[in-house]
Amino acid sequence: MVNHLYKNFLSDEKVYKQNIEFWKSMIFTLLSVEKLTFGEYLTSNKPDGTLYMDGNPIFNFKPDNTERAVRIIQEAPESENIEFSAWINSTGLSEDSKIEELVISLELSNETLLLSIELINAWIVTKLPRPSMEKYIDKLYTIKENLFAFENQLNKL
């Protein structure tokens, strides 16, 4: 059974903010060990100053002095499946500044949190080249799919 975290984050502003802090703390824990500092690179507030509360993304960061970034999209839990996927997106921050983002889309659970940390570590800390990273994403996705299929079979026994 999937244990979803911050289930009602989209309907409760307090929970939404706690959810952001949770991600910030996870990323800080991962990157501070490597002495990496980071900041947001995307606009997260509406023109009136209030937060976009759609989880899209729930958290984004770019370590200083790098052209790599991470955007995490969190969706409301809808099923008992492990909902998780990721891809690399090339885009621009301005006319003369290009970046490559690891984009993660998930329903937050213990399982998807660990998969996220694993991918973020490979992308930001280990700095896998893009082709290797894409292979690694495929590999983890397949493992995740197989794991879920096995779990379903076990539940039917």
């Binding site: 690179y41 997260s44 809808e78 997106n89 885009t91 006319e95 889309s105």
Partner: protein
């Protein structure tokens, strides 16, 4: 020539990469944003459009919620088709203001 208001809407996936972009001196309106989205929908295969129905609807909702203004950095939205690896619709507002009422 530098255009103040720029962005793009994309339909992406394992075997798909289609996009519609804007770059202009005035903010793009909601109507023009919706038109770009419709153009994008029309130019991809029907099957790709059908699996993205929900993602397109979420993108429409986001456009209708405008205006959106780039403050500290761009505004990105990705609406992924659940249960797929990376079939999705993306909106990227790279600079300026997008999806105004007029």
């Amino acid at each position: 020539m530098y255009m103040k208001h720029r962005g793009r809407i994309q339909a992406q996936g394992e075997n798909l990469e289609a996009s519609e972009a804007w770059a202009q001196n005035e903010p793009i309106s909601k109507n023009d944003g919706l038109l770009l989205l419709q153009n994008l929908k029309n130019k991809i295969p029907l099957k790709e459009s059908q699996i993205r129905e929900n993602a397109f609807n979420k993108a429409i909702e986001f456009i209708k919620q405008g205006p959106h203004e780039v403050i500290i950095g761009p505004i990105f939205r990705s609406y992924k088709v659940k249960g797929t690896k990376q079939e999705r619709v993306d909106i990227e507002i790279q600079s300026g203001i997008a999806f105004t009422n007029s």
